[in-house]
Structure formats: structure tokens, C-alpha cells
């Protein structure tokens, strides 16, 4: 026998079984080797496997098992001792590793299982979050709908559009079957169906407002689920359908008066409208919380939008009213202006047209009086004269009074001879008094100056009126006129306690008393005397034919002269005294006293030269300036020439009586110069008269000139005669009445 170190296999060499075992072992080995490879491959791929070293261990275990099985392959046949040793080693190692692995797995498997639990937990959490996000999204959708709805509702200010749009949009957003709005009627006891979404024009549906369901809805500002069978929800015959859920919400109707200045509308607003929303019938839809919220928000917005619409309506109405009033006022104003214009035109016409014939009649009758007449003729002529004088006076009175009334009358202030005025008055009444065989006396105090400054014509009028009245109402005896300068102690008269005249250096107060021995006046009637058109019955005599305007006009003139007028009488039959005090200017240091301004000269007598009259001429054109200067020199004036506005203002002084200004000077505007001259001379009497010279004196130019305070406009070219009459008129009247 060979002594080999061979080991005898345990099993008999049964060929088939051996073969199967052999193959199986081979495959096992293969598998055992490939499993770790796969493991390694996949673990390398994955990033999160936490137990790598376990893998190593496992891998070792498997590899060794594989090795064992592989080595087993050799043991099927005769094999050497080495193989047996290797086999044994492998098996031992395998045993060790397997046991280690088994021990290890005890620790590891619970861990792995818990990982799984955590995974499950996280999955659940994720699902929950998804759900919540779904909800949030829905809410956002809702919010978007609300915003859109609100925008739609608020984009119009028309009440109907607002309500209609609300219903339409709500219907669309919430996919409603029906949406209706019930508004309170005027009486407030019923709700009337006003708007619906799908029903055609709703007419006549009303429900009483005191239904419990309605109360329930009105008592809270939340949307309330109501029964589909309640009268507000039963809009259509429901028939076979299962009606959908119905929700109702109140819509406060705010009124303008609810908005106090500092408050917001309180919940005491009593008027609500009812909005009813119905879900589609057959669907199993329910009202969700967010949908209810949406409905509430919309209801509020609608309330606000409606109140805006109401306010707008109010303000539009107020504006229309104002516009109508404006139109009416404008019309009234224009009518008034037309009336004033008509009156002014009338006055202007009367002024000229009526006075001219009057004067002719008066003048010619007086001339006739001078001729040889028989007594009857004389009487007739006297009557004519008297009547025409009366008529003339009447005309003048009416004209003056209307000018006085609207304040457009201005006194023509000029210097005049006071003494001769009184004498003239006396001369005028002398004929009448001698006819009536009355005496007339005049006594002037010695301290009355010879010249005074005031409106001579009007003063004459006052005097004539007062004196005329005195003569009129005196049948026997006579009248006496006294005049003196009022001193401070006599200034205050018990009759006129409010009158505090204060004389000064440039003014004095003239007191005139006209005493008559006539029929007197009842002291109670005295206040009435000065009112227009009022005539006391007791004063009516056969001579009185006055319109009753005389004293009223006198009073106004006296007031314009900053004075007072009153009557005193001791009673009927005891005569009467008329007293008036007026403020007159004293012609002072200025050169006025030297000038022969005897304006008693009638208007058609024109001075031929004006010696010593200082004038200022402003013209920038050398030739034109020279010509005008020559013209003025020819008329005897002393001329100072300037060529520009600045120079003019520098040179002008109160010695210059007239300043002629050519309109077309460049630089400083002529109007500005005029204004500056006014500013420079505050007292009217000091200021030189300003006359504009222009080549085209149209109406606009004249108005502009007069507006800045110029005293006249003269059209160029100026002839010698024209300049002469201009200067005359200026010196007589202080103003150019017509632009020449």
C-alpha cells in the first residue's frame, strides 16, 4: 500500500449524488462570492448606508462560507493533506466570523427596524403637510376671489351695477345655483326681492321683515345657514330636487346721516338688506367655513360700496342744485345789469335830451318876461316860467337822487366865491318874496371867507331848496338867512348829538340858518320830512307841488359834504327854522388862490390864454414834444418837458397843474406813471391833473386811462383851439368830461 497522506472521503464514491453535490457546492460558492460584490456595489452607489463595517463583517462571513464550499469541491476526490488543512482553516475561520456576525446582528437588526418606523412616520407627516397646504391654497384662492369681487364691486359707483355685479360674481366664485338680494321697502316693514342672479326681473315678492329667520340673520354679522324652506329662500318651485344648503347674510345699508363727523357709523343703523345664497340643488356640497367668510366679507364691501354710491348721488344732486342756482343767479345778475344799463342809458338821455328843451323854455320865458307885456300876458309867462322851473327841478332832482342812491354821485369840488353864492340865492328868491310881499334878509358873519372849496352847484341846490321851502310855506312875514362859521362850542348841537365836527387848518364848518315865519311844522312830522316822497298832509298848500324829493336830496348832499341838516319848529303856525352845517375847504397856500378860477363863468366862455399855468409835458418823440411844447407856450403856459416816465416822476410837483403824457412812451408804462403820481400826491387838491395824449383814443384806451386815475384823454393831433378848450375845461371842472 502506498503511504500517501491522502484522506479518505467519508462518503462512498457514488457518482450521481457526488456530481450533484459538486455542482451545488460550486454554485453556492459562486453565489457566496457574488453576494458581497453586489452588496459592495450597491452600497457604494447609495450614500446613506450607515453600517459599513457591518458590511465588511458580513462580507467576510459570506466570503469565507463561499471559500469553504469552494474548497469542499476538492474534497470530493482524493485530496492531499494540504487541502484538508486549508479546508479546516477555512471552516474554523468561517465559524468564528459567523458567530461574530450572529452576535453583531442582535444589536443591529433592531436599529434597522426603527429606521423603518421613522420612515413611516415621516411619510405620514408629509401627507399631513400636503393636506394642509391644500387647505392654505384653497384659502388663498378664496382670498383672491374676495379681492376680485371687491374690486369689481368697488369699481363702480352706480348702485344697480354694484348689486348686480355682487350677485354675478358671487354666483360665479361659489358656483351658486341662485343668489338673491332682498331690500327693505320704503315703509320698512317688508323686504322686497330686488335682485336675483338667475330669475328674470323679480317683481312683487315681498316678505314681512319681522320673520324670526330674518331677525336671526339681522342680529349677527356672520353668515347664517337657514332652511331652504324659509320664505326668503323659496324662490322657485323646488319640485323634485333636493334643495341645496342656503345661507343668508345681512348687508347694512348706511345712510349719509350715519356718518357723524368724528364717529364711524354705529351699529344702530337699523336698515339692512338680506342676501340669500343657495348652493346647487343636487350636489352634496356643503358650505365651507372659508366660503362663509367670503360671503361675510363681500356683504361688508357691498355695504361700503352702496354707501359710497349713495353719497355720490347726494353730492351730484347738490351739485346740480348749485348749478341751477348759479344759472338762476347769473340770469338775475344779468337782468339786474341790463336794468342798470337801461337806467343809466335812460338817465344819460334824460340828462341831455330833456334838459336842453327845458333850458330853452326857461331861458326864453325869462327873456319874454323882460319884454313889454300886458298884465295878463305877464301872469301867463310867469306861470309858464314857474311850471317849467318846477319841471326842471323835478328832472334834476330825480336824476340826482338816483345817482345819489347808488352812490355814484360825486361832488364837483372846486374853489368858488361863497359870498357871491349867498348873494345869488338872495337875488333868486327876491322876485318871489316881493311878489308874496315877504321880506328876505341875508346876514353873513364877517369871519366867513370869501372863497371856499366845495361843490358850488350842489350847495346852491341845497340853499335854494331850503330857502324855497321857507318861502313856499310862508304867507306873511318873511325869511331870514344867516350864515356863520361854526366854532367848537357851538358845533355840538343838541339836535344832532352824534355830530362831532372838528375844524382844521384846511376846513371849516359853515352853519346856515334859514328862519321863516310861516306855517311851521308839527314837531312829530319833522323826521318824516327827509324821507323821499313823503308829504305830510298839513304841509300841503296850493303852492306845494313838489315831488317830496327836495329835502331828501338836500340831506344826501349835506351828508356828502360831511355835514348835518335838520329842521326846528315850535309848532304849527309858529314858523320854522332849517339849519344845516357843512364842511367846506379853505383855499390855502397853494397857488390856487392866485388863479382866477372864477367858475361862475358859464361853460361856453373859454379862456384864451393861461398865463402862469405850469404844466408838465412828457413825450419821448423829440419832434412831437417840441410841437406840443410850442402849442402850450403859445397859450401862455409855463412848460416843463420830460421824455421818460422816471424823469416825469422826479420832476413833477404840486406846482404843476396839468401833466400831459404821450401814451406811446416806452419803458415805464404811462399807466404806472399815473398810479405813481396818485401815490405821490395824497391830497387830491395838490395833485396835477393827468391827461393822456394819444393818436387813437378808442374806448378801451379811455377806460384804461380812467381806471388808473387819469383825468382825461385827448386825441392827437391837437389844434390850438382844442388845447385851449381842454385847458379851460380842466381848470373849470378839474376833469375832462368828454375825451376831445
Amino acid at each position: 500500500m502506498e503511504s500517501c497522506n491522502c484522506i479518505e472521503p467519508q462518503w462512498p464514491a457514488d457518482e450521481l449524488l457526488m456530481r450533484y453535490q459538486y455542482i451545488s457546492d460550486f454554485f453556492i460558492a459562486l453565489a457566496y462570492f457574488s453576494i458581497p460584490l453586489e452588496l459592495i456595489y450597491f452600497v457604494k452607489k447609495s450614500a446613506v448606508f450607515p453600517y459599513r463595517w457591518v458590511l465588511v463583517q458580513f462580507g467576510a462571513f459570506i466570503v469565507l462560507c463561499g471559500a469553504t464550499h469552494l474548497i469542499n469541491l476538492w474534497t470530493f476526490t482524493m485530496h492531499s493533506r494540504t487541502v484538508a488543512v486549508v479546508m479546516t482553516t477555512a471552516k474554523v475561520l468561517t465559524a468564528v466570523v459567523s458567530c461574530a456576525t450572529a452576535l453583531m446582528l442582535v444589536h443591529i437588526i433592531p436599529d434597522l427596524l426603527s429606521v423603518k418606523t421613522r420612515e413611516l412616520f415621516l411619510k405620514n407627516k408629509a401627507a399631513e403637510l400636503d393636506r394642509e397646504m391644500g387647505l392654505i391654497r384653497t384659502q388663498e384662492e378664496t382670498g383672491r376671489h374676495v379681492r376680485m369681487l371687491t374690486h369689481e364691486i368697488r369699481s363702480t359707483l352706480d348702485r344697480h351695477t354694484i348689486l348686480k355685479t355682487t350677485l354675478v360674481e358671487l354666483g360665479r366664485t361659489l358656483a351658486l345655483e341662485e343668489c338673491a338680494l332682498w331690500m327693505p321697502t320704503r315703509s320698512g316693514v317688508e323686504l322686497q326681492l330686488s335682485y336675483t342672479l338667475r330669475l328674470p326681473n323679480p317683481v312683487g315678492f315681498t316678505v314681512p321683515i319681522l320673520l324670526p329667520v330674518i331677525n336671526q340673520v339681522f342680529s349677527t354679522n356672520r353668515a347664517v345657514k337657514i332652511s331652504p324652506n324659509s320664505p326668503v329662500a323659496r324662490l322657485r318651485p323646488t319640485g323634485k330636487y333636493m334643495p341645496g344648503e342656503v345661507v343668508a347674510v345681512r348687508v347694512p345699508l348706511l345712510h349719509l346721516s350715519n356718518f357723524q363727523i368724528n364717529d364711524w357709523p354705529e351699529l344702530s343703523t337699523k336698515r339692512y338688506a338680506l342676501m340669500v345664497l343657495m348652493l346647487p340643488s343636487d350636489s352634496a356640497r356643503q358650505w365651507h367655513v372659508h366660503e362663509l367668510e367670503l360671503v361675510e366679507v363681500v356683504a361688508d364691501q357691498v355695504a361700503v360700496a352702496l354707501s359710497h354710491a349713495a353719497i355720490l348721488e347726494e353730492s351730484m344732486r347738490a351739485r346740480d342744485l348749485l348749478m341751477d342756482q348759479n344759472v338762476a343767479l347769473d340770469l338775475a345778475r344779468r337782468e339786474a345789469e341790463t336794468a342798470i344799463r337801461a337806467r343809466n342809458d335812460f338817465l344819460a338821455v334824460m340828462n341831455h335830451e330833456m334838459r336842453t328843451p327845458m333850458h330853452a323854455i326857461i331861458a326864453l320865458s325869462s327873456l319874454l318876461q323882460e319884454t313889454e307885456l300886458t298884465p295878463e300876458q305877464r301872469l301867463m309867462v310867469e306861470t309858464i316860467l314857474k311850471s317849467s322851473n318846477l319841471l326842471a327841478t323835478l328832472i334834476n332832482d330825480v336824476l340826482d337822487l338816483s345817482r345819489l342812491e347808488d352812490g355814484s354821485l360825486q361832488l364837483d369840488i372846486a374853489t368858488f366865491n361863497l359870498h357871491s353864492l349867498f348873494r345869488e340865492v338872495l337875488n333868486l328868491i327876491k322876485p318871489i318874496t316881493s311878489v308874496k310881499r315877504l321880506f328876505a334878509t341875508l346876514s353873513l358873519a364877517p369871519d366867513i371867507p370869501e372863497y371856499a372849496i366845495s361843490d358850488e352847484k350842489r350847495l346852491m341846490q341845497i340853499m335854494l331848496n331850503v330857502v324855497g321851502n321857507a318861502v313856499k310855506f310862508t304867507k306873511e312875514g318873511g325869511i331870514s338867512i344867516t350864515a356863520f362859521v361854526a366854532k367848537s362850542d357851538s358845533l355840538r348841537d343838541p339836535r344832532a348829538p352824534e355830530f362831532f365836527p372838528v375844524p382844521s387848518d384846511s376846513h371849516f364848518y359853515l352853519r346856515v340858518q334859514v328862519k321863516d315865519t310861516g306855517s311851521g311844522i308839527n314837531p312829530q312830522d319833522i323826521p318824516k320830512l327827509f324821507t323821499k316822497f313823503a308829504q305830510s298832509q298839513t304841509l300841503a298848500t296850493r303852492n306845494s307841488g313838489g315831488s317830496g324829493l327836495g329835502l331828501a336830496i338836500c340831506k344826501r348832499f349835506v351828508n356828502l359834504m360831511e355835514g348835518q341838516i335838520w329842521l326846528e319848529s315850535d309848532g304849527l303856525g309858529k314858523g320854522c327854522t332849517a339849519i344845516f352845517m357843512i364842511k367846506l375847504g379853505i383855499p390855502g397856500r397853494s397857488s390856487e388862490a392866485k388863479l382866477p378860477l372864477v367858475s361862475r363863468v358859464p361853460a361856453d366862455h373859454v379862456q384864451t390864454t393861461f398865463p402862469g399855468l405850469k404844466v408838465l409835458l412828457m413825450d419821448d418823440n423829440g419832434v412831437s414834444r417840441m410841437v406840443t411844447k410850442g402849442l402850450l407856450l403859445h397859450l401862455g403856459c409855463e412848460v416843463t418837458t420830460v421824455s421818460a416816465g422816471d424823469e416825469c416822476l422826479r420832476v413833477i410837483s404840486n406846482e404843476h397843474r396839468v401833466a400831459f403824457m404821450d401814451v406811446s412812451i416806452p419803458g415805464k408804462d404811462i399807466y404806472e406813471v399815473a398810479v405813481r403820481i396818485h401815490e405821490k400826491f395824497s391830497k387830491r387838491l395838490d395833485r396835477p391833473l393827468i391827461i393822456a395824449l394819444t393818436a387813437n383814443a378808442d374806448r378801451v384806451m379811455k377806460e384804461n386811462c380812467l381806471r388808473v386815475g387819469m383825468d382825461g384823454v385827448v386825441q392827437k393831433p391837437i389844434s390850438v383851439d382844442k388845447m385851449r378848450s381842454v385847458l379851460s375845461e380842466l381848470l373849470d371842472h378839474g376833469v375832462l368830461l368828454e375825451a376831445q
Binding site: 419821448d620 418823440n621 423829440g622 419832434v623 412831437s624 417840441m626 410841437v627 406840443t628 410850442g630 402849442l631 407856450l633 403859445h634 406811446s664 416806452p666 393818436a695 392827437k716 393831433p717 391837437i718 389844434s719 390850438v720
Partner: protein
């Protein structure tokens, strides 16, 4: 020449001036202003007019010669000239100025240049005529006669 003849030619000449529109009533006014206080009034005014007008016409020529015509200045000069000429009664010059101003308003350079020529022409004509008139006056005075009044 003897005085009567001189005076007659003076009257004829003056009348022709008025007839042909060189002078108007304003010139008569000027003559009325001449008195013993102011014996040379008319001549002085007319000389001033000549000086003034020459200056204005030069200014106008220069102004219209510029690249950028300053119409405001042109208008102002024409206005002055119009004023002067109407002050002494140079009617045709005045009318030419009025036409000039209208074209100025329209900012029409060519028309303005034409107008300027026209104005210059009229001015020279009236200057000529007035100088002749004054010469005649001097001759009459030198011959010992008096200047006849022309209505």
C-alpha cells in the same frame, strides 16, 4: 423878382403841397404857433424833424440789413418816425410809416425793405419841398415882403 410875384409863387407852392398830400392841417397848426415870442418855431421843428428822421432811417437800414432782423426794434423806429411825421403834418411820410408797421407785424422782411425804400423816398420828397418852401420864405423876407397866410 419882385415881392408880389414871390408871394404868389409861395402861395401856389404851398397850396400844391397841401393838394398833393405832402402836408396836412397839422402843418397849419405849426404855422399858427409861430408868433413874436417864437419867430422861428416852424423852421426849428422842421430841422429837428429832419435830424430825427435821418437818424431813424439810418437805424432802420442797419436793422433790416442784419442776418436776424430785430422786428421789435424796426417797429419801434417806424413808430417814432410816424409820430414825428404826424406831429409836423408830413402826411405822406406818415402814411408810408403806417404801411411799414403793418408789414412789420407780419414779419415780412422783403415787404419791409420795400416799405423802407418808399419811406425814404417820401421823406426826401417832403424834405425837398420844405426846403424849397423855406427858401421862398427867405426870399420874400429878403425882398421886404411879408409871408402871406395860406388857409
Amino acid at each position: 423878382m419882385e415881392v408880389g410875384q414871390l408871394q404868389r409863387s409861395f402861395v401856389e407852392f404851398t397850396e400844391s403841397l397841401f393838394r398833393e398830400g405832402f402836408l396836412d392841417a397839422q402843418f397849419c397848426q405849426l404855422q399858427q404857433l409861430q408868433d413874436e415870442n417864437n419867430p422861428d418855431f416852424v423852421i426849428e421843428v422842421v430841422s429837428l424833424f429832419f435830424e430825427d428822421s435821418e437818424k431813424l432811417l439810418n437805424d432802420l437800414t442797419r436793422a433790416l440789413d442784419q442776418q436776424d432782423v430785430d422786428f421789435k426794434k424796426v417797429d419801434a423806429c417806424v413808430h417814432q418816425l410816424k409820430g414825428s411825421s404826424s406831429s409836423i403834418g408830413a402826411e405822406r411820410v406818415k402814411n408810408a410809416c403806417i404801411a411799414f408797421r403793418n408789414f412789420c407785424d407780419e414779419l415780412n422782411i422783403d415787404a419791409c425793405l420795400r416799405c423802407l425804400q418808399h419811406v425814404k423816398q417820401e421823406y426826401l420828397l417832403v424834405k425837398n419841398k420844405l426846403e424849397t418852401l423855406f427858401r421862398l420864405e427867405q426870399q420874400i423876407l429878403a425882398a421886404g415882403g411879408a409871408i402871406p397866410m395860406v388857409e
